[in-house]
């Protein structure tokens, strides 16, 4: 179905992600997992299959890529679209329409199919994906998982022979991953050829037949899944791969830090026009020092909690007590900092150094140097923040928060789309931050939690479902949650 003959590619304006001398054959009906470190060329490989290279991303290409008997270089993107369907990483940015029905129909409309047939296909593929109840909705009211479902339905309605998925779970919660797994299983049953580039491996072991490991743009190994499953956990670490099974998770023993507690009181919030409050916590007591993981499904109120904590929600009346001090919303705004999932939102200046000085209280040069050193930013201080890599940007944001004297640091999905090496680095950094500050992490990444968190706050339906220390017993609870998810909240009309 897919054949690469001595393919090499280099992007016109970037060094990373280039491919060297790839030869590869994928038979019809195979389900292939592409893995490897960030920048190893996984995404580039998927782009060669769906024709985005060479037709959208520019660069130097040699060799031959044949998909379904056609050379992708010779046929236009809209013709490749008939054979290859693609699902991307970010559910927010892959929509063309504003309503779900239109979105599922979009691909078929482009093919110029008659409206009656499109209606048929929209119904059929949304039924297959379990997205019937999502029809006729505004895209902007959907959760990440629901958006990804619509994306799959939209591609599926075009009935391509090959499906290419590029890190489809980066922004998904555990239930959504489960749904996606079912979708892929269905495609597999229909005999489609499926290529998945992914960092998270644990949901794919029973799905994929074959694993291709890339390193620095070359295929290092290509083996059946059975063989891949025999690699020891240590072997996986060496390959810088994420865990294959959640059973392998073990936690980091921390001497519990004695002492102070933080009490959140009257944490209630409802958005305008929505009746049941999205956040409804009468009182919650959390350890003041340490790293706290906030887990729960999409819509459980995690992001609302983080926004309230940082004092960003305007009509929020709750407060935060710490010893004898009581912090109001305004004071929390001064004391806390949210490192957003898209860090680009919080970088404003021309150079890293200027960025760090902005918002610093007094110009404490020594402190500036110390923080820059500890976060390995000294060498980067002249660079434009937006030109840095994702991890570096994150560190700039952290540094700016530390220098502004923030005490509560909240992270929203700090490791989405990171490979093992970068995830572990982030975990170490978060752990060390937690020795001095209160660090809260909203995450769907169990591997990150076991590596840096001391405490887990499990949210459900806007309230606290459970909260526990991450010890032997806590680990079991955590593992149970990530293996089984939760029954979904019944959508209220």
């Amino acid at each position: 179905m897919i054949e690469f003959k001595n393919v090499s590619f280099k992007y016109a304006n970037a060094d990373s992600g280039s491919l060297q001398n790839i030869s590869l054959r994928v038979r019809k009906g195979e389900c292939v997992l592409l893995c490897g470190q960030s920048g190893c060329g996984k995404t580039t490989l998927t782009r060669l299959i769906n024709g985005l290279i060479p037709h959208y991303y520019e660069g130097e290409l040699s060799g031959e890529v044949v998909v379904g008997g056609l050379d992708v270089r010779d046929i236009e993107l809209y013709d490749t679209a008939r054979i290859v369907g693609s699902v991307f990483q970010n559910p927010r940015s892959q929509f063309f329409c504003v309503d779900t029905t239109g979105e599922i129909a979009f691909g078929c409309e482009n093919l110029g199919l008659p409206p009656d047939e499109i209606e048929e296909r929209v119904k059929l593929s949304s039924r297959e994906m379990g997205a019937i109840n999502l029809l006729g909705r505004s895209i902007f009211q959907l959760s990440g998982g629901e958006k990804q479902k619509i994306a799959c339905a939209s591609v599926s309605a075009m009935r391509p022979e090959v499906f290419v998925l590029d890190e489809p779970t980066s922004n998904l919660d555990i239930n959504a991953i489960h749904d996606l797994k079912e979708t892929i299983r269905l495609w597999k049953k229909e005999g489609k050829t499926i290529i998945i580039a992914e960092h998270r491996l644990y949901w794919l072991t029973e799905l994929c037949d074959r694993v291709i490991y890339l390193r620095n743009g070359e295929i290092e190994c290509d083996m059946p899944m059975r063989e891949f499953c025999r690699i020891t956990p240590e072997g996986l670490r060496k390959l810088s791969l994420r865990t294959r099974s959640l059973k392998e998770l073990c936690y980091r023993k921390v001497s519990s830090q004695a002492g102070e507690y933080l009490t959140l009181q009257n944490y209630r919030y409802s958005y305008r026009g929505s009746m049941p409050p999205v956040l409804d916590i009468q009182e919650a007591v959390l350890p003041k020092k340490g790293v706290i993981a906030i887990i729960g499904n999409n819509g459980a109120g995690k992001s609302t909690l983080s926004k309230c904590l940082c004092g960003l929600q305007k009509r929020f009346g709750g407060h935060c007590r710490c010893g004898s001090a009581v912090y109001s919303r305004r004071q929390m705004l001064k004391k806390s900092y949210l490192v957003m999932q898209d860090v680009n939102h919080q970088l404003f200046c021309e150079s890293v150094e200027e960025e760090l000085r902005l918002g610093m209280d007094g110009a404490d040069e020594k402190e500036l140097v110390r923080v820059m050193d500890s976060l390995e930013l000294t060498a980067l201080k002249e660079r434009h923040p937006m030109s840095l890599s994702g991890g570096q940007k994150q560190r700039v944001a952290i540094a700016s928060a530390l220098l502004a004297g923030k005490e509560f640091l909240v992270f929203d999905e700090p490791t989405s789309g990171l490979d093992f090496y970068h995830m572990e680095r982030t975990a170490k950094l978060l752990f060390s931050l937690g020795r001095e500050k209160t660090v809260l992490i909203i995450t769907h990444d169990p591997e990150l939690i076991v590596r840096c968190c001391d405490y887990v706050l499990h949210m459900e339906w806007g309230g606290v479902k459970e909260q526990y220390q991450l010890n032997e017993a806590g680990l079991l609870k955590l593992r149970y949650f990530f293996e089984n998810g939760e029954r979904k909240r019944i959508s209220v009309e």
Binding site: G59, R73, M386
Partner: protein, 202 residues
């Protein structure tokens, strides 16, 4: 082995999907900025000022947009969209023809500059922003149509309008759109060099 290496930049002059999507995206950003500023225009005194701050702020996204324009028609389409949006939001129909003319001029200049010359890009920005002037045309022509003799204010209104927006203001506003469009373009260029090129998006 590397005999059939190809550089994949394509030079088709037909507007492709990618170009049309770019037009849409930058129109959205530009329009949101202009609309946010136009909210101040509900205070009538501020209205003429829109010909100053509109082009000035709009120049920033527009200059970034220009770095994506390599084919004939993209600026013209953006102008047309602005005209249609004005008609849709009830600001009258004059913006559309004005936008088409100013857009075409901008388009031709940018084509002559081979879609790359820095100094021309600023000029292009100036011409593009003239569409805003179209919104003011109905206030200058036919001022008697509204109040006329139905009320005692008829004559007074004409005089008041002439006082507030005297007819010589019309060319002044036109020039202001153009001049501040150029200033906005210069501002956009500064930010382009300072941020967007380094960020790798220009």
């Amino acid at each position: 082995m590397f005999t059939n290496t190809t550089t994949t930049r394509k030079n088709s002059n037909r507007l492709a999907g990618k170009d049309l999507i770019n037009v849409g995206i930058y129109s959205a950003i530009y329009f949101v900025i202009i609309m946010a500023l136009a909210m101040t225009g509900y205070i009538p005194i501020m209205m003429p000022l829109l010909c100053v701050i509109g082009p000035l702020a709009g120049g920033i996204p527009f200059m970034l947009f220009l770095t994506k324009v390599k084919k004939f028609g993209m600026i013209l389409i953006m102008s047309a969209i602005m005209g249609i949006m004005m008609a849709l939001t009830g600001m009258g129909l004059y913006s559309l023809p004005v936008a088409l003319v100013s857009g075409l001029v901008a388009e031709l200049i940018w084509k002559r500059a081979k879609y790359s010359k820095a100094s021309s890009s600023v000029l292009v920005c100036g011409f593009f922003n003239i569409w805003m002037w179209g919104n003011f045309i109905p206030l200058f022509i036919n001022p008697d149509g509204y109040f006329s003799t139905r009320t005692e204010f008829g004559a007074g209104y004409e005089a008041a309008l002439t006082a507030l927006l005297p007819s010589w203001m019309s060319p002044v506003l036109l020039v202001s759109c153009f001049a501040f469009g150029i200033l906005g373009g210069l501002l956009g260029r500064v930010l382009l060099k300072k941020h967007f090129i380094k960020a790798g998006i220009a």
